[in-house]
Amino acid sequence: MLRENGFGSGPTSGGKTNGAPVNGDPPIRIGVYVCHCGTNIARTVDVERVTEKAGELPGVTIARDYKYMCSDPGQELIKEDIEELGLNRIVVASCSPNLHEGTFRGATAAGGLNPFFFQMVNIREHASWVHEDRESATDKAIDLVRAAVRRVHHHKALETRRVPIKPEVLVVGGGIAGISAALTLADGGKHVYLIEREASIGGHMAQFDKTFPTLDCAACILTPKMTQVRNHPNITLMTMTEVVKVDGFVGSYEVTVKHRPRFIDVSLCVGCQQCIDACVYKRGKFEDEFDAGLSMRKPIYLPNAQAVPQVVLIDPEQCIQFSSGKCKQTCVEACDRDAIFFDQEERIETLDVGAIIMATGFQTFDARRSPHYGYGIYPNVYTALEVERLVNASGPTGGEIVLRDGEKPTAVGIVHCVGSRNQKSNPWCSKVCCMYSLKLAHLIKEKTDAEVYNFYIDMRTPGKGFEEFYQRVASEGTHLIRGKVASVYQQADGDGELLVDVEDTLAGMVRRIPVDMLVLAVGLEPRYDAEEVRRTFNITCSGDGWFMERHPKLAPVDTFTDGVYLAGCCQGPKDIPETVAQAGAAAGQALALIGRGYMELEPNTAQVIAEDCSGCKTCIPLCPYQAILHDDAENRAEINEVLCKGCGVCVAACPSGSIVQNLFEDTEIYEEIEGVLAYA
């Protein structure tokens, strides 16, 4: 209630006074419900006192406290009170509105009221969980309840808005997460745009040899999925493509993508690779990314043997034609499909989709950041990803595990937790390293019969069949040494032998173990450009840089941006089964959204009060959605409610106070402010 107005004497506000009805309106009858949340709230906040104080506030007909307001009986309480006591406003003091606002609006509606005659008070996340002192937490809760009670007087009946959802879905990233999500959606009859930054889909999984704990071959389970993607009528696969801009909102995203030139026409190339054979480079000269740099390729190359699409590409940084313009173009000659185009250019395209699934994955920790392990210094120190390629039958050595000099190793150390669980690098557990280290131990032992030493901090095997796998590897004779590796150095006499100094905490001693190959179990971390990507998609990262889910338990694949979902390691380290499961969940959420066909939007839009507007045009350039138009004939601003997203920036800016925002009217906010400040 505005106490002041233009000239200070002040009784002119059109608002209602607390508890007193405006002419003709029924009296305000508020029900206040204070939740104990078991002991989550009640332990720190004196809910009885909050309830008692709430009961004294003007307009409050009934104030109750209850163990769990969100439970069925709790909601029933609201419904019954509305019916029996004739309540017309509801306030629930419990947890965050992000959690249960919908629940209690539902209960309010179930009692026959408009659901927006409801206000939620957050006395758990904002009070009981962040304060220790019972008295001050209780005082705060009382203030917050008072604010809500004062605010809810002014609430109006509102209708939610429905916006149609476009049925197409964008999946960003073609690793196992993106592939799984895309296939689920496509099988569900939805059209999917699957975009991948690299030249082939498959992601990290395509580089692996076997997968733990079952030791089935990664390629054997992944390749069919990749082929399905290629052949699926509902999937448009776009490789070498990145998102540059995302406009719009849930149900109607407008995504601008950039196709990088491949210099090969994808529709013509059949992947025969004759161009590669014909290249002026007689042998590979450039590090092959897929083989983690362990093999060399030419400037024109197929990303990998199982690549989807089976189409070559040219690296313009390496190809002579691009640097000198004077190549003989033997590749062009060799191509009987005439698929090579040196003049291909970057192409921009816009995709209209209703939902987006982020499956942008991870990168492995750069072992050079922990120099005491000797990576990049001693040639026989490898990352696990390199060893995956060595083990792999389609890898640079045809599956032979050999050292740089081609010799088989006789003693191999595997260091766990490289870049993980360390405040200097990444504090988190990367979750998959223990298991893949055991897998590599098994494979190395199998293929080389070398002595294998696993240096671990804790052996983390919490998964189906994981502990059994650990027992199996242990029984195979792998040395499992619990302790941190302090340093690695090479023997002075030079034959490449490495000495690993490690604390053996089980034996209670420091040991020096000679190995001729050291494998670093590098952890998982957010991609270098995760920050940029999240900005493009307007989603959030948690403090460690992984994309943040809407709720860690109840909305693990949703984001704070409606219609954008998370799948796979972009949200945090995961193994393959978890990734696939999460991809399915994300696809399920997208399907649910699309299946409904429309989205209920908060009715928090703004409106210009036409007779008050002076046509000053202040609001017009402020709207990020161009939802405000100036009607020249009437000299009024006008808000297109369909385009309005309800930010309220125009409302705050309107110099004559002629724009109002539903759910956030000035009066409602003033009342809330006064409410928290009214001394009890």
């Binding site: 962040v130 304060h131 917050l144 403090g543 309220g648 003033y670």
Partner: protein, 189 residues
């Protein structure tokens, strides 16, 4: 000191100050938080069971761009000792650029607030993303401490007292009260 003004240069502070002596002064801080970043950070602080000063009372708006300088003035006028505006980091606004509007208003508003004698520590704008619960904790604690050190915001005339003449500082001592000698001597400090 001009003797006519002696006891009344500082307007009387009735109830507000008498109930809060310096030691047990608990600042009242109104926090105007955007729904998408800073309110979420406050939620995260809760789920992470962080502890911070209980002085902050959060009022949620959808976007920091919704924050009207009138809200800030209103909070101060109604007894807030501090106002904290929280929004998404530049470039991160859920509504693209509402936080820039908040920043522009804040920069001008602070000039006015300061000109009106309110210390700058009492009005803060902070960009706190949904994941920065720890930053929220830090800002809340810092602000509570800063304002505790400043003491209560003693608006010269609380709204409630504006109508009575005492609030306006009318109680002017006559020369007889102030002492006969003061009649002619006018000391200018």
């Amino acid at each position: 000191m001009l003797e006519q003004a002696d006891s009344t240069v500082q307007a009387p502070q009735a109830d507000l100050t008498s109930q809060t002596s310096a030691e047990d002064f608990e600042p009242r801080i109104v926090a105007l938080f955007c729904n998408w970043c800073t309110y979420m950070a406050a939620d995260l602080a809760g789920t992470s069971r962080m502890r911070y000063a209980p002085n902050v009372r959060v009022v949620r708006v959808m976007c920091s761009g919704r924050i009207d300088p009138q809200f800030v003035m209103h909070a101060f006028a109604r007894g807030a000792d501090g106002v904290l505006i929280g929004g998404c980091h530049p470039g991160d606004c859920h509504y693209q650029e509402g936080n820039y509007k908040a920043l522009r208003r804040f920069r001008l508003l602070r000039r006015v607030i300061e000109s009106l004698g309110i210390e700058r520590e009492r009005l803060r704008l902070e960009w706190i993303s949904a994941s920065e619960a720890d930053r929220l904790r830090k800002v809340a604690d810092e602000m509570a401490a800063d304002i505790r050190a400043l003491g209560p915001l003693q608006l010269s005339i609380p709204a409630e007292e504006f109508r009575n003449a005492e609030g306006a500082g009318a109680e002017i001592p006559s020369p007889e009260i102030a002492g006969e000698t003061a009649a002619k001597e006018v000391a200018v400090p």
